[in-house]
């Protein structure tokens, strides 16, 4: 094993002497690169965003913007990282920096380095269609969702959007653009131990399962979006951290005749781009899930692994009738997602067991929708999340799967509502009756996000909305 090190802005920095729970943000800042800022330490503000070179979808390598505050520094062993300082200097500005300076996209400036990195990632996205404007897209094809995880409290965002929409394409000789044509750094096996704690990145899935079998208290981590919050906000310090996010076995996406199988360690962004709209329900979900920065790291394995009652992905996957594939050193098993959750943040997952993939049966139901009720358009936690997958043939509901998040201690299937729809005509009367049932599903709570009354009302409304959309073709 070589000495753990990371290339930051073209310079190799040793990772061997850092405490295991040091974040990439603290690491770069302690290395003197104080441009990246901490605004929240929980993935909400994007002030810490940096670029990481990762295996790409349309080019061998892509520059991906991530929340440095959530990543363990050790996780970028062998990788290339670029911070705002590495993009350009005051006397040799990067085009993104120039646009931000000229358009006034920086006011107090604290959010700026993070915005610059998020914007640069989109600037370098090879499949950005530079001639296509559209909803949330600039005339240069800039997808505003690229900045959905960056908060600014000063500018009112307008000058930032102006800067983003003014960007051209990278010139041919741009080093970060040409870097995309070479493969990304291969995953390396990592072991960092300090103060009695260890960070491990095994080479293969069997290696990972062996470690987990021998030391079941080892915490597997994938995208680390939950890990980072746990460390920074809740003071969690696992003694052994096992990184599974680069295991090739967990990073496949295969379309079989009877199912789509999605590797548990693919990021949501990777899944979104690989599926490319072929699962409409998920295509509707992804833009509403957290922010681009989070989606660039967050995995389905982690989303199910944390067992959160408001997991957005669960609501969608329940509607799709998904199954969870689990594996430990002794073997594999498959569990329907509807049976996976057993209680508040509890599941059938055994110590030492990993989620390897999520299987979505084919064919897909023809009528699907994902409704996320939240106050903000980007980057907000759901008050309720509802996934619908219906088969309506000849005006009659032949199949109905409804997944709910945020209405009980676990995500759940709305079985009673499904029964109220099944084999009934898809009419306003059926819907009105089913709405009553849907309102009573789960045990919604009052909290600062929404009242129980509101949550229940929204459940009912969402079915009405779906009905309206399927019958009027209206969207709203």
């Amino acid at each position: 094993m070589t000495i753990p090190q990371v290339n930051v802005n073209g310079r190799w920095l040793a990772l061997s002497d850092i405490p295991v729970h040091t974040t990439l943000l603290d690491f770069v800042r302690d290395s003197g690169l104080t441009g990246s800022k901490e605004g929240c330490a929980e993935g909400e503000c994007g002030a810490c965003a940096v670029l990481v070179a990762q295996p790409g979808i349309t080019t061998p390598t892509e520059w991906v913007a991530v929340n440095a505050c959530l990543l363990p520094a050790a996780s970028v062993d062998g990788q290339e990282v670029i911070t705002a300082e590495g993009l350009g200097r005051a006397d040799a500005l990067h085009p993104v920096q120039e646009a931000m300076a000229v358009r006034g996209g920086s006011q107090c400036g604290y959010c700026t380095p993070g915005f610059v990195c998020g914007m640069a990632a989109e600037y370098y996205r090879a499949d950005r269609d530079c001639t296509h404007a559209g909803q949330d897209h600039g005339p240069n094809g800039f997808d505003l969702h690229a900045l959905s995880g960056n908060l600014c409290r000063c500018t009112g965002y307008r000058p930032i959007r102006d800067a983003a929409y003014s960007l051209g394409t990278p010139p041919a000789e741009d080093p970060l653009a040409t870097r995309r044509d070479e493969p990304a750094a291969a995953p390396v096996a990592t072991e960092v131990t300090r103060d009695g704690r260890t960070y491990l990145r095994p080479r293969t899935l069997p290696d990972a399962l062996r470690v987990l079998a021998e030391q079941p208290e080892t915490a597997p981590v994938a995208g680390c979006t939950d890990w980072g919050v746990g460390v920074n906000i809740h003071g969690r310090r696992a003694d052994r951290v096992l990184a599974i996010d680069r295991l090739a076995e967990l990073r496949e996406l295969e379309v079989h005749a009877d199912a789509i199988e999605i590797g548990a360690a693919l990021s949501l962004t990777e899944i979104e781009r690989k599926l490319d709209g072929s699962v409409p329900l998920l295509a509707e979900l992804f833009p509403q899930f957290a922010s681009r920065l989070i989606r660039n790291r967050a995995t389905l394995g982690g989303n199910l692994g944390n067992g959160s009652p408001i997991g957005d992905a669960s609501a969608a996957l329940l509607a799709l009738g998904a199954e969870v594939l689990l594996m430990d050193s002794a073997g594999r098993r498959t569990v329907p997602l509807a049976d996976y959750f057993t209680g508040y943040r509890e599941s059938v997952l055994r110590p030492g067991e990993l989620i390897t993939s999520i299987r979505i049966p084919l064919p897909l139901a023809p009528v699907t929708a994902f409704h996320k009720i939240a106050k903000r358009r980007f980057d907000d936690i759901s008050s309720v999340a509802i996934g619908f997958a219906l088969d309506i043939t000849g005006g009659v509901v032949r199949r109905a799967h409804i997944g709910l998040g945020g209405v009980a201690a676990t995500p759940l299937r709305a079985y009673a509502t499904e029964a109220a729809l099944l084999d009934r005509p898809w009419t306003a009367d059926t819907v009105a009756a089913a709405q009553q049932v849907l309102r009573a599903e789960g045990t919604p709570m009052d909290d600062h996000r929404a009242s129980a009354r509101y949550r229940a009302a929204m459940l009912g409304q969402s079915l009405a909305k779906l009905h309206a959309e399927t019958t009027e073709g209206a969207v709203g």
Binding site: T34, E85, L87, N150, R153, Y157, R158, K375, D447
Partner: protein, 712 residues
Amino acid sequence: MTDMATGTPLSRVDGLLKVTGGADYAADHNPPGLLHAVLVTSTVSRATITGIDTAKARALPGVADVITDFGGVKLPFPAGEISFFGQPVAIALAGTLQQAQHAASVVAVRVTEKPAVTSMDDRQAIAVPSEEVADYARGDADAALKAGPIVLDNSFTVARENHNPMELPATVAQWSGDELTVWDKTQWVQGTGKHIAAALDVPESSVRVICPFIGGAFGSAGRTWPHQVLAAYAARRVKRPVKLVLTRKQMYSGVGYRPESRQRLALAAGADGRITGIVHELKTETARYEAYSEDAAELPKMLYTSPNVRSTYRLVPVDVSAGTFMRGPGFVTGAFALESTLDELAERVDIDPVELRLRNVADRNQITGTPFTQERFADCLRRGAEAFGWARRRPPKARREGNLLIGMGMASAAHPNYMSAASAVARINADGTAVVASATADMGPGTATAMSQLAADGLGLPVAKVRAMLGDSTLPTAPMHAGSATLASIGSAVHTASVAVRDAVVRMAVLDPASPLYQADPATVTVHNGVMSAPGHGSERYGDVLRRHGKDSIDSTQTWKPGDGKKASSYEFGAVFAEVSVDIRLGLVRIRRMRGVYDIGRVVNPKLAHSQAIGGLVGGIGMALLESTARDHRDGRIVNANMADYLVPVHADVPDLEAEFLDGADTASTPIGVKGAAELVIIGVPAAIANAVYNATGVRVRDLPITLDKLL
């Protein structure tokens, strides 16, 4: 001069540093030997501390000290007691942040709890008069309410809000003998220096505070908070430099908030819409250990002609941390009640809301009776209505697009043009460059940029030759960077100093037989690009005359003082227009477009002013629709003390926003004709949005924020 720098949309002078990550904020300083400090804070709202167990923390690797006795330091709350949830009770110090965090997490604080009241609505919470805002009456407002004929009498509530700038509060303190240097996040370097010196009982002159960049503050870094004092205190105790950065969570109880408020606003009017009486009864929450009042009573008293007004302001002391001013303090709160009520009145008397306001516009401050230095309130209303397309507004609930109800609303905004005495130094160097400096700050509006522009014009130099310095307590005296007073005050000082030093060089030249300007009338000398010239005389550079006199540079420090304000009242005005859509099935409100039209005197930099104004509109959108500090009154904890649950607007919440400034300069207020803008631009926003929501849905929401539940 034709090519004035003032009035041009110059890009921010520190923009290059900011986009490349080179701007250094307080937490970016790491002096050698630094220890990281983490505060241990209380988890109850009221108690007596009986003991603090630090043994476990001290035993951890890297831990240098755990300080639990704050003896010898003056803090605003009583020692040995807990006065609010989140109060600092100990400081853990260690070599790395991780170690300090871990140490802080294992410090055990033993307390004897006492009954606490944290809600201003609690029956045990007793309102008391504010010492700062006296009761006010003119005429007999209660009689006017009885007389009618139109009477509206409603209650309004505004939730507590936190400033939530993106930068975390941070202090790095380093002692060298008896001298203390502090890199701090502060809107007032000299104030912080003074307050730290007083709290530690050391001479003010021994404390230097440095803060060249502020990552936003909105009022939260105005006064000096306990963590700043404690960082300096800890550094003295451990004899090492100390860095203390509050967590986002700690900000919610550590650096103030906009207090929660309750208002009764009753208004009487004639059928012609003329206001005949206003009764305004206002309460805000406050800390028991420290009273904070704000100017929420001001606008209902001063803005519209009403012969009868009665206004009372009460504070409700409870067991919470201290509040402080937050963007548009008080004014935005009072304006919400007043401008919502005017909207209701407009409907009752069937007069267009803009016309209704025009009927009640005052030409003088209704409290003092003094005329305004410049009164363009009506112009703002008219121009805004025209530019926004206000004529297209329909009656309530009349506009529908699919499942969306569409509505328009508007509100007035006004804010005093606060000004304070301020000093600045301007220096002309023989090499043709210049420096202008003052101990002010720049939390984002572009103080340094505007200073450069004003100095360039005062000096007759191109902006590129002028460097502005700020954020160091050793520079000439400046007031707090707050209340939108900075540009008017510091700008006037910069202008005065620049003109003074320019005049000094001109005087040297006209008295110097070797100068081509010898014996020219100084009044006829103009300076352009650093070259002095006068009709009938030759010309020469500043540098030429300075060098002949053997000088590398010449400077002048000047203090500017505002007039006493007895003859005229200086105010900024504005009108805000909003169009919203409300999804009838989900109750979701989206802003479609907004426009603010403002009278802020001369606009020094339209690019910066525009983004400042739009930032204010977005702050107002947050206040109207999203922001609320939620508390659990069983123990007083803040339940959404993070950026995931305390929602501020994101990119997608922000539609097309426009801000426009009326031409003109208010030279009666300042020599540079400038008035403030930063507070003004948030003031009418929540009311305009609430009024638009009413116009869309027919639902009047009098409680901010307007959350989904309230519209179902």
